[in-house]
Amino acid sequence: MTLNWKTGGLLLGLVFFAAVLLVKPIGVSTQFVIFDAILGDIATPDLITQTEDGYTSSNAYLAKSGGKYAKNAANPLNYSFVFVLAMMVGAFGSARLRGGVRADERKLPAIWYANYGDTPIKRYAVTFLGGFIVLYGARLAGGCTSGHMMSGMMQTAVSGYIFAAGAFAAAIPVSIMMYKKEA
């Protein structure tokens, strides 16, 4: 089901290239902020406000860089946000075409089962906390695995190398400590 690394890597590389040829390099984590801002603006309508030449926000992060995040949240039908929604559709379609994710895997990945048994609540708590740290870290870093590591290293961006060094320096020991048994 999983493509061998040569075919898969080549295809992924072609997608990276298509993105930078036609539009701009791939990135995902900013859209978590945009989605938060859309929700926030529904809850508190004065979070994002229109100015003479664009948008701004009462939140300093959304207002930074001339209010570009505020602007994207006010107009969700923009390239980066639609890109991420389409990515979900693509992953859904691809998974469907290969027969879908098995029911036991959908509940708990095998690697969790092998190490911690049938403990879905614990797993969901760990992924929730993991998600919190991942997005907090990604925003502090200004990008994630796609924007910094893949797109950044592809463009010889120094930031991409700094990010990859940090990410793997933490990820490898944590993974070795948490998942001692192979699935």
Partner: protein, 193 residues
């Protein structure tokens, strides 16, 4: 409108390929990060290399617009954020893009990852003034070499397009040179998937 169509096509292709290389599967992420199966690491490095070689050679031949590059600022917070992301990535088995793809493919735990992620991003939005005040967010947009036609500062004075092409080839070579696994049972004979 064209940009929206491109977003749909490129986004869907990205999601589909992430699914097919196993990047949305926490089992493969766990194997990669615990160094017991480097299939995914090899695929990602090959992809970065292929993307780099195509982009920089396209720039040299003149059919890739240098203005499409988007280099991020290098600052101390990139490393700190990288450490945090790495820890969560290993614990959950998801990063922002693959977590969304995994949730879409039906994995329940990935929805909890997304919920945590939205909260984490919101927490950052609120704590941004603090980080800004520390000075850890200031830096420069730097590339390894000086890319012709781009306005980025560079670490070296080497020609950035040639260097990008060479780095792409080096990263591809590393993908081929990496063993199937670095730790765990059967380190010497592990067959490829």
């Amino acid at each position: 409108m064209t940009t929206i169509i491109l977003a749909i096509v490129i986004g869907a292709a990205f999601g589909a390929v992430l699914d097919r290389i196993g990047a949305t599967d926490p089992n493969w992420i766990g194997k990669m990060l615990s160094l017991t199966n480097l299939h995914l690491m090899k695929a990602i490095m090959l992809a970065i290399g292929v993307g780099s070689v195509l982009m920089f050679s396209g720039q040299m031949l003149g059919f890739v617009d240098v203005g499409h590059m988007s280099v991020k600022t290098a600052y101390a917070g990139v490393f700190i954020g990288g450490l945090l992301l790495g820890a969560g990535w290993a614990a959950a088995g998801y990063c922002p893009g693959t977590g969304l793809g995994a949730a879409a493919s039906g994995r329940k735990d990935a929805w909890f990852f997304i919920a945590g992620g939205l909260l984490g991003a919101a927490a950052y939005m609120l704590s941004y003034p603090f980080w800004k005040g520390t000075g850890l967010l200031s830096g420069e947009k730097l590339t390894l070499g000086a890319v012709p036609g781009a306005n980025y500062d560079s670490l070296t004075t080497l020609p950035g397009d040639v260097l990008g092409l060479v780095m792409g080839l080096v990263i591809m070579a590393i993908a081929f040179a990496l063993p199937d696994r670095l730790r765990g049972q059967g380190a010497h004979l592990a067959p490829a998937e």
